[in-house]
Point group: D3
Chain length 237, copies 6
């Protein structure tokens, strides 16, 4: 019934390959099915101006899609001269999610910038980005510990993200593009490995949905995120 006979509570084929950048302090290529995101985490020994002298660090994220990551080509945001509203929303979400599991005091007065660039898009680019961003950020933090720049790893919890939605009246985990574009409701969950809530964004596409449906979407998300956190752990060895 779902494309490629996926079960309603089944993730797409997912892989996380680390160390894909020769220069970045942390990096991975994460694939949620045909959705591929290249993530790098860059350490900057300076914090933004408005944070100077507070003895705390900062974690932020930027998101972009290659112009032909999608079925038809989208104009390059750099050429249009500004980031679109969707991009701004997504990169703010990624940054907030990462900061929720980072002890900024422990990071010290430095910044880590995580770049999520979508190579190929088939639904779920923001949740793949967050899941990969946690891996790249963890690697960059580990590097700081190894170099003796900080004493303990400031990451406070494993964390991942997944989308769920209501399609043809059924609640489903990890929507791909054809499902996403036909969904009656669409929800993105950012949770810790044991189900703690970091961010939930649920949106009705056509008409309101019920609290019971919301509960079922939440249940699916918990299951998927527990699995994703296992893959993150494996990817980091």
């Amino acid at each position: 019934m779902r494309p490629e006979n996926r079960a309603l509570d089944q993730l797409r084929s997912t892989t996380i390959e680390t160390g894909v950048s020769r220069y970045a302090e942390g990096s991975c290529l994460i694939k949620f099915g045909h959705t591929h995101v290249l993530v790098t985490a860059s350490v900057d020994e300076n914090v933004p101006r408005w944070m100077k002298g507070k003895g705390k660090g900062w974690v932020t994220a930027e998101y972009g899609m290659l112009p032909r990551s999608t079925h038809t080509r989208n104009n390059r945001e750099a050429a249009r001269g500004k980031q679109g509203g969707r991009t701004v929303e997504i990169q703010r979400l990624i940054g907030r999610s990462l900061r929720a599991v980072t002890d900024l005091e422990a990071l010290g007065e430095r910044q880590i910038v995580v770049d999520c660039d979508v190579m190929q898009a088939d639904g779920g680019t923001r949740t793949a980005s967050i899941t990969g961003a946690w891996v790249a950020l963890s690697m960059a933090c580990a590097t700081l510990v190894e170099k003796g720049l900080i004493k303990t790893n400031p990451i406070t919890s494993p964390m991942a993200a997944v989308s769920c939605g209501i399609v043809d009246g059924t609640c489903r985990l990890d929507l791909e593009y054809t499902e996403d574009s036909a969904a009656q409701a669409d929800a993105n969950f950012v949770l810790t490995a044991n189900g703690g809530i970091i961010e939930v964004q649920a949106t009705a596409e056509e008409e309101p949905f019920s609290g019971e449906q919301m509960d079922e979407l939440t249940r699916l998300a918990r299951k998927g995120i527990a699995e994703l956190c296992e893959m993150q752990k494996a990817a980091l060895k």
Copy 2:
């Protein structure tokens, strides 16, 4: 314990004054305590270019804050030359919420633009905007019916929005600024009068929160939104 001895599940003093603009097809000044938002709904007989010829209408929203609506002055977005990320996020949320309760076919090939301008801000500007926007949009639609331009009012359901949050370990309804800035978690709900979900956005500020807390926030939101929908009805007579 809460400022001005509010109960945990109590809305701030709320008023909705309609007809505040001499020109707009629908308008209101909505006050959630010291948060004041002026909302206008403007009918435009043209739809955006990408919607032409589809026989459907469009509803969109813009949001702005007066420079001194806040404790200290913020630079004017028009002078800075772009709308900030927060503004973009909020106006996209308002527009999506309105479209979820509008039958765009019934609206016909025309556009309604809802402007939400914050005169004074004390927390909850986005939820006050959505609640007021529904009123102004309803008035503009009623005007179209009166003029005979459309046959039936395309608004499919009453709808309002409210914020909830966890402050000092307690779940609270309708946070004001001092509470909002100290919250451990912060959630915005857009619901129909009978609790159908249009949009939920919940964010942990410091550390993850539990599913039980999320349930309590949802319960508070249902109560508050039922009350707000009564006030909307009264404001429209």
Copy 3:
């Protein structure tokens, strides 16, 4: 003959309500008939970079119109990404006018930013803005004196502004929109209470007008501005 039987040398119904902002150091809502402008004056203890270390203060102004303050909706300048030429002209005029009656040395090395936001427009928005801006600025300066930050109020003179114009061959005071759009000539005067000239801008709309007509417009402006200065005084108590 004029709308609502106004005499040629008669102001529209004018009111000035002070203290309309909970946060601003000075504020008023000024109404010239159906033209309504919300004015706030914000004290900033820093001067712009190019003025640092000169021992003098600065007064500047910004102007904006709400998108639906006019008969048909105008696009939001923040969304278009720049302030239009008319906006730039008007806010420069407001700032110059305020500085002409402010002793910048007496103000000390701080800045006051006056924001004039047009809620509803029916002609004369720039003159209403200037007249209201003087009130809000005076209040903000009085606050500085009260707090002991400066010794004497740096405002050197009462001042107000009004438009005059030639419509249907007659010179008229304080044009409203329908008159303004039909005027053969249009002049904005910024004068002190006793008729000293701060700024005069007169423009022929269709064909040149005579020096005698200019003299009559000036006479009308003197009368109107004397009345407006009385209202300012009353509003400040």
Copy 4:
């Protein structure tokens, strides 16, 4: 007493050289002393989109200063990515002044764009621009008549502009830079050859000035503009 012993009512040495551009339909290099402005008038057989189908033409102007036209270099507006407020104000003034002496119906549905580029600045760049712009526009209109595209020249009146000001307590005609920067008041007049008013902009720099002083500035402007209109006539043969 004035630089180079100029009388209070004496223009600087002024020249107008026409035909300085190989391509433009009308052009001149106008010099008010050391202020040099290159003016071109370009005929465009299309009107702006908002004027299409009205059977009328349009005249507009753009103004720019070469980066090193001034004592110290100013950043290039093209590099900064926007035209400054002063530039916007000036080019709007030039355009309005030209339209006040052009019969737009007689021009037919076409546009003339006048570019005023300041090669060297020593005060009075806007008034030199307007005076030269009238010459270039007249030439371009004459070309249209010669080519048989229109029957009669749409220019309705000779027109020129000059600045006057109060310096060291004396009213003076045609201020150069050192006078302008020390002026107590500064006024720009755009008048027809026989003194009809097109535009007057008078500004107090430090403190208000009197109606009598305004009258004297107006008298000086009439004298200077009559002389400038003679030079324009001579330049056009």
Copy 5:
């Protein structure tokens, strides 16, 4: 003497992997040593507005670097709001080079947009981009032929690009970053397989170089480009 004992006239290890994008009509991942560029060619059935109705097609290119493709992170051009001068130069060069080997009439009234996104940079990103762009463009054109949209492949010649430079007094082929940053002169060649010149850009970094050195750089480029064209042929099967 060169890094990794490369001979002066030896290319870095080079690979071209085609078909790396699920959606693009043509694509490849090209590697010149550690320089990796992802190239897609997208067919758009519309030409730019200024080319409509001419019965000809258009080929254009865009270029970007991922923020952490370099040793230290560069700000994202989309976030800065404009493409830098270097980016603009490079993408104009890529587009010109491609058009020089494309019969635009044979392409028909459609556009092909080639995107070159640098995943990792180690010198020579523009020449790798051009070399890969020719492959992706060829694939997209072949697709058009297969679909019967055009009769013959509009590519008129094989073509590739390589950089050469003078480092430590020796002329070298295909500079990597450490060589590039120490070069006395730097030249980029775009040549056909048999040495026809499409574009040559040679720049002295410190002091002028001689015609003899230019001849030697040209000889190296011819050798390298002949080899690259063989690899392109192999990659296309």
Copy 6:
């Protein structure tokens, strides 16, 4: 056969008039036939921020065209809000060329900005700009020596630029517009007086050209540039 019977290896009538700006430290008006460029060199005692404290100076250039310097009017870049790709390319080329003949240590920690503004364009604006820029820069450096700010003139070599191209199958020196727009290939050379290479940019317009043709274009450029360097020397006395 060429316009005005020019020989294939003949420059257009060329003049260089120095000292055309009252304010700039160096300036000239250079004419290559009907191509006229006004060049100023401005000394700024501050270097750009990224160069501070390095004990070296900086030379940079900006380029612009007056809107009606061309056959038909082009929109003003300041009004469009950004410099076009061609402008960016040209001003980067001018700056690089100037720095290649300037000893930046000898210049001391200050900046010279060279502005090249095209008054009238008939092909070869970038090469006329470079040739004139060398003159203006030399004058500004001589001024610094005269004032005792630096000991020796930091200009290390005479240098000029010229375009060559292949038109109707013949190689020609110094193309004018009608030739340029019909050229099969187009090359810009920046050489020292004795033929040392600073920059070469050669581009095939339609189809590749041969190495022999490139050699002939180079020979023509050497001849032309030797003559231009003589004129520069004469212009500087």
